[in-house]
């Protein structure tokens, strides 16, 4: 495939950064959620 | 409207006593003009770029002025006094904006004269009205945006750099329009006088928009915490 480098870079940056944000958010949330009682969690 | 004038007068008196504009901001602005010439190192290029450079210098210097407008207030809680009294927030905003406008107009005049002297810019008699109108409108727009965003960052730590980060993108349309209008007034080949007036109209639209926004938002911004 022509220009494969650029195409791969685009997709890797896109999916990679989304994944990073997702993981970071989940980890921070998990840590805080453990410390917070359930009545402060309206989604439960 | 009278309340606004009272607020404006107070701000201008404070400025008069401190002479910040005269002693620090105007020299800084002129210094920026000089530095542009040094960096670009080409008289024809500088002359062609004169209008844009004037308004660039104006943007950066205006932040220093606006910053001051709110630092003075928050240091001794003066805004709270104004607001818990009988002064409507919109009036406080308009008053501060008026004071900023007066100072920015003086600064703009200085810079245009600086461009005439340092860069060799010329203004034909037929372009004078355009130049004055454009300068007035741009100064108005800048004062409305500056006062509004000054209020947003009032009391925050690191508000100097925050003000720049927040306000400068918003002023981009003003920079574009003011530069093109002034370019026309300086007698450019590419921008005729009619276009210059069109750009000035955009400046007025910008100023009106942000004045209205500022008057509306000021009350919310100055609310004390629940």
């Amino acid at each position: 495939m022509d220009d494969l480098g650029f195409i791969l870079a685009s997709w890797l940056v896109t999916l990679g950064s989304i994944l990073l944000l997702a993981v970071a958010t989940l980890r921070r949330a998990k840590r805080l959620a453990r410390q917070t009682p359930d009545d402060a969690k309206p989604w439960l | 409207m009278r309340q606004a004038l009272v607020v404006a007068r107070k701000d201008l008196l404070i400025e008069w006593r401190a002479r910040l504009l005269l002693v620090r901001v105007a020299p800084f602005a002129l210094l920026v003009l000089v530095l542009f010439a040094v960096a670009l190192d080409s008289e024809p290029l500088i002359l062609r770029a004169a209008a844009g450079l004037v308004w660039l210098a104006m943007l950066f210097s205006s932040l220093m002025l606006v910053q001051r407008s709110f630092d003075v207030e928050t240091d001794d809680g003066a805004v709270d006094v104004l607001l818990t009294g009988t002064v409507e927030p919109a009036q406080v905003y308009l008053g501060k904006m008026l004071a900023a406008f007066a100072q920015l107009l003086a600064l703009a005049t200085t810079l245009v004269l600086g461009a005439v002297v340092l860069y060799g810019a010329t203004v034909g008699a037929d372009h004078l009205v355009l130049l004055v109108t454009a300068t007035l409108s741009a100064a108005w727009g800048l004062s409305s945006v500056g006062t509004l965003y000054g209020a947003v960052v009032a009391n925050m730590s690191g508000r100097d750099s925050l003000l720049a980060l927040l306000a400068l993108p918003v002023t981009a349309p003003l920079l574009i329009a003011a530069s093109r209008a002034t370019e026309a007034a300086f007698g450019s080949q590419t921008i005729d006088t009619a276009s210059g007036w069109a750009w000035t109209a955009l400046l007025v639209v910008f100023a009106v928009t942000f004045t209205a926004a500022g008057a509306a938002a000021f009350g919310t911004l100055m609310e004390s915490d629940a």
Binding site: T14, I18, K30 | L166, T209, E223
Partner: protein, 258 residues
Amino acid sequence: MTSTTGSATSAGNTSAGTATTGTLFTRIIGAAAIIITAWVVVSAFFITPADVQQGDSVRIMYAHVPAAWIAYLAFITTAVASGISLVRRHRTLGFDRVAGASAEVGVLFMGLALITGSLWGRLTWGTFWQWDPRLTTTLFLFVTYVGYLAVRSIDTNPQRRARRSAVLALLAVLEIPLVHFSVVLWRSLHQEASVLNPDGDVRLDDVMLFTLFSGVVAFTLIFVWLVMHRQRLAALQDAQLGAGLEAAIAMRRAETVA
């Protein structure tokens, strides 16, 4: 906003809460997002044809266009949530958290739109950047939201943060069209041949169109998933703030009594 129960706020009591911000809804959305994204990637690389003019570089479009769409969706979401947070005073903090979460996710997608657009442009135009209205406006949007997030991160009082951010978000709604309009006028001065719009030049056949559409759907699901988790995280952070404040007040009271 009322505090958490008294027992939870006294120092030293770490009542174990359910350690997740996930619910059935987010799990479904998450699963759907992963599946559809996988399909889009496969299709972008292997199923869709190369473009007649642009060749394979068009495959970047399937990442770029959805990212740009979601960036604007996030912008609108933040603006609407901010507006509501100012009007509905008893729900201010909840909507403010949504606004903030949407902005954070939005900044990510704006950045991605700019990066992928730049890479795509390098292949099609030969340059990484063009001063065309769409790109320039997206850049301004990006910078504006970086500023918005900076302001949010400094305020320690949630009510203050909500008011300040809401005003900023609504001002952005004013600012962005103005910027776009000015840049359109500005660039029209330069009488350039109409700027090559990478996606404007592409002839989309059915598979390409479907893949593009799927991409938008996938990214929308990702957006919703991210915003839901992010705003729940924000709720947890605010609860901690409140608990910390109450603990401090309680300790102070205990000092004066003793």
